[in-house]
Symmetry: C2
Subunit: 248 residues, 2 copies
Amino acid sequence: MKQNYKIIIEYDGSNYSGWQIQKNTSQTIQQKLENALTKINKKRVRITGAGRTDAGVHAAGQTANFFLDVDIPPHKIPIALNSELPADIICKKAEKVEEDFHARYDARGKKYRYRILNSNFNSVFVRNFVYNVYKKLDIKIMQKAANVFVGSHDFAAFCAAGSSVESTVREIYSLDLYAADNGEIWIDVMGNGFLYNMIRILAGTLIETGLGKRSLSEMKYILQSCDRNNAGFTAPAQGLTLLEVFYG
Amino acid sequence: MKQNYKIIIEYDGSNYSGWQIQKNTSQTIQQKLENALTKINKKRVRITGAGRTDAGVHAAGQTANFFLDVDIPPHKIPIALNSELPADIICKKAEKVEEDFHARYDARGKKYRYRILNSNFNSVFVRNFVYNVYKKLDIKIMQKAANVFVGSHDFAAFCAAGSSVESTVREIYSLDLYAADNGEIWIDVMGNGFLYNMIRILAGTLIETGLGKRSLSEMKYILQSCDRNNAGFTAPAQGLTLLEVFYG
């Protein structure tokens, strides 16, 4: 009888081609985790992540589940995993869950943070985790623009081309801007799910608004147009971090 | 007539063999800066740093001076330098100074921070800038131990072997511990100068005290013994950052 485990993982996505296993590279988070788990379990283990973060995107609270043949007390899972994982992937927590728990299907929502460093100069200490915007951003205008996107909408204008999903309707529970004390501006977004590149296009659109390149009144039009060409640029992956996944 | 410039530099020391130029490697901060400055000046430039940080040690406010043949407005120096420097070295500020200004001789004091991550797990976001101590540290005891070292003392017990200095007497102006909100413990030390590895040996001794491996009453004895063998271990370089250099 296999045991289902749920884990919380933190990773620096800088050197990875994203979460999902790919044929032409072994540099994926999922691959590194499956390698480590397979070593512990002595038999092949597959892992299911709550969200497939893109290349270069980070996580502070990615959630995943997997089945082991061996029965290991949950508190020993992070220690065992971290001894096999590279330094840029860390398992923070593990617990036993019911057999039918599924990290992706059971997720009720996710929280992401887009980190902007609004400063004349980048910072060596956070450079891999922020997007550096040199010109001064108007955070108040950005918050007003952000408010337009809260709620249930068709976010087709904020979906990268090439994505094939049944519906482009998603619900954003909250979209809040914060000025952190080290010159960082955080765009914190919580929602029931996100389209391909949706948060990075939202961030890019808000940044262009904060720079005065776009007006507040455009926001409703962009959303209603359902046309990707009307929205802003796709902000770089390195600024984005998956903070938390919510369940049940 | 050459112009003397003073600059403030930030660097991630992880991939460098320290500040000072060395014969067998080009991976030094000083070398990278001199290369960039020489390119800008079109003639060889030598740079003088306030402190020679060790391999792996970082800086948020290293200070240095150099002379240029070309007359460049100070606000353009960081932009010109940063376009030539690698991403892990950033010039934050520059100003013109009197001909006799010397970054090392004129320094009145320096402030360093030793960052400890006191957590069961390391963090991918700060892993290169902290020393991760898994067991719970008693920060109150550490502060009491730290107080013993404040003032003017012979710090021979806290000086790495192989160092040849005229005097091992130094003055510590302040030595304060802070619990930051992300699980970090900071050891902030300000003084008129520091011996080779002095802050890292102080940090190591305080960590051993915070773990209960050393008693508070030992501190005075260690200091007075002037014997390196009596002090604690040399805490890893990666936790140490030069925050600021004080002048005039």
